[in-house]
């Protein structure tokens, strides 16, 4: 999976997902053998095993992959406090001066996990804004709330999606 490999390189992680690969539209899953044995009607399948992420031009990791990468030694990481962490989960970027500590080199194009203690809140890419170093938000866990609100406020028409 080329997109996943590119993402792992950008984040400085060595990681090989274990399990059978399943693709559903733009989503990439891995499933254990026991779970794979219960996939019968692929046309009606909407989720299987563990979501690795989505490919939207570039690979966007799932919360479960970020959770696992956050526990590993090796990936690029920055640590922030509660206030900056909450702003990040609201979709904001992180300014360099808000970073409490880091692991990994701040080079152009590198990606960093954003950590609050031992928890990974998302990740971003190093950039510059008005001469200041900035970590541009690519994905954060607030996405769960934004997805919930989006489906509540703009209910998706189900007429064409019923099996």
């Amino acid at each position: 999976m080329r997109e996943l490999k590119d993402f792992l390189e950008a984040i400085g992680a060595v990681y090989v997902p274990v399990g059978e690969r399943v693709n559903l539209n733009d989503r990439r899953f891995v499933v254990g053998l026991g779970v794979a044995a219960h996939i019968h009607e692929r046309g009606r399948l909407v989720y299987a095993g563990r979501l690795l992420g989505r490919t939207r031009g570039e690979f966007i990791p799932s919360a479960s992959l970020l959770r696992e990468l956050g526990r590993l030694q090796g990936p690029n990481k920055v640590w922030v406090d509660d206030r900056v962490g909450w702003l990040f989960t609201c979709g904001r970027d992180v300014f360099g001066e808000s970073i409490l500590r880091s692991e990994g080199e701040f080079v152009k194009g590198a990606c960093f996990l954003v950590m609050l203690g031992g928890d990974c809140l998302g990740y971003g890419r190093i950039g510059k804004w008005e001469g200041r170093m900035i970590l541009r938000n690519i994905f954060d866990l607030g996405d769960f709330l934004r997805r919930e609100w989006a489906t509540r406020m703009h209910p998706i028409s189900i007429a064409d999606e019923r099996p």
Binding site: V35, E41, R44, R50, A63, R67, E148, E161
Partner: protein, 307 residues
């Protein structure tokens, strides 16, 4: 869930007065404005109960264990709403009404089993089953409504569930490859209840209740056919209407080779004298949650074993 057009005289068979009179005839003086307490469920796949309590109390919330639930907590106060905290986004807990946590406790799925969740969206009970199973074994989650499955997918991702396959389909008609399940949860589409929906009395009629009961029987019968002999099926609704609860269980006993098992726990034994009918004494092994007794929404739980 189907809806039916009400015949003209059905307007008399709806509204707060009509339904509260029915509940009174079943022995319960309800006000019609009972509400629930906010409850959460610790996601034991990612955190212990102590960890969640410690982290939320540090943010100013007050938590109280729900005595009849393994992982349930009542929550009050705190610096942010329960649905907008780091801990929620990290999947350490889910927001789930107390009565809605009970069916999976009754089903008690175990690691390594193959379990079916027949009307799974939005996935609160699906993720609860995966937690009980420690992500080992398989949960097959099915729902016919694609719009509600997006919430299920989000919940699976957020809570770290890895042993689930989910389908958009009618659970009674899906190809399961000949699998007979160890346990099945049928959280049937139902009329709901007024405790969680303030406009409930104004939009539900007895015609809706009867239409839902027919759909529930179709799914109930199909569920028995998907259960291995000796396997356990938990049937549950959040309806207080006997047509969707005791009368469906009686129908199942009369038409399928099944027995009932004691549900126990909070609430009251199910009714065996209802609407002029005497039901099998076995039906009393099911459990009814009356809002005035349990402080929860209305709920019904039956535990069925295939003979």
């Amino acid at each position: 869930m189907g809806t039916v057009k009400s015949p003209p005289d059905e307007k008399r068979l709806m509204g707060a007065g009509f339904f509260l009179d029915r509940y009174r005839a079943m022995g319960h003086e309800l006000r019609g404005d009972e509400r629930t307490r906010r409850a959460i469920r610790v996601n034991t796949l990612l955190a212990s109960r102590d960890e969640v309590v410690g982290r939320l109390e540090a943010r100013g919330a007050r938590l109280t264990g729900i005595p009849w639930l393994r992982d349930g907590l009542y929550v009050e106060g705190g610096e942010s709403s329960a649905g907008a905290s780091f801990e929620y986004l990290l999947g350490l807990y889910s927001i789930q009404e107390a009565a809605a946590q009970f069916p999976v406790e009754v089903l008690a799925p175990e690691a390594g089993e193959v379990v079916l969740d027949m009307c799974a969206a939005p996935g609160g009970k699906t993720t609860q089953m995966a937690a009980w199973m420690g992500n080992r074994g398989v949960v097959v989650a099915v729902d016919v409504r694609r719009d509600r499955l997006y919430a299920l997918e989000n919940n699976l991702e957020r809570t770290g569930v890895e042993n689930c396959v989910a389908y958009c389909a009618d659970a009674a008609g899906l190809d399961y490859g000949g699998t007979l399940f160890d346990r099945i949860l049928l959280d049937a589409p139902c009329s709901g209840n007024y405790v969680t929906d303030r406009s409930w009395f104004n939009k539900r009629s007895i015609g809706d209740v009867e239409a839902n009961a027919a759909e529930q029987r179709r799914l109930f019968g199909a569920a028995v056919g998907l259960l291995r002999p000796g396997g356990t099926l938990v049937y549950t609704t959040c309806s207080l209407e006997p047509e969707e609860d005791e009368l469906n269980v009686q129908w199942l006993l009369e038409n399928h080779g099944v027995g009932l098992r004691e549900v126990g726990g909070p609430g009251s034994p199910a009714l065996t004298e209802v609407m002029g009918r005497s039901l099998s004494p076995e039906v009393a092994m099911c459990r009814r949650f009356w809002p005035d007794e349990t402080g929860t929404q209305g709920f019904f739980v039956a535990k069925v074993v295939r003979i």
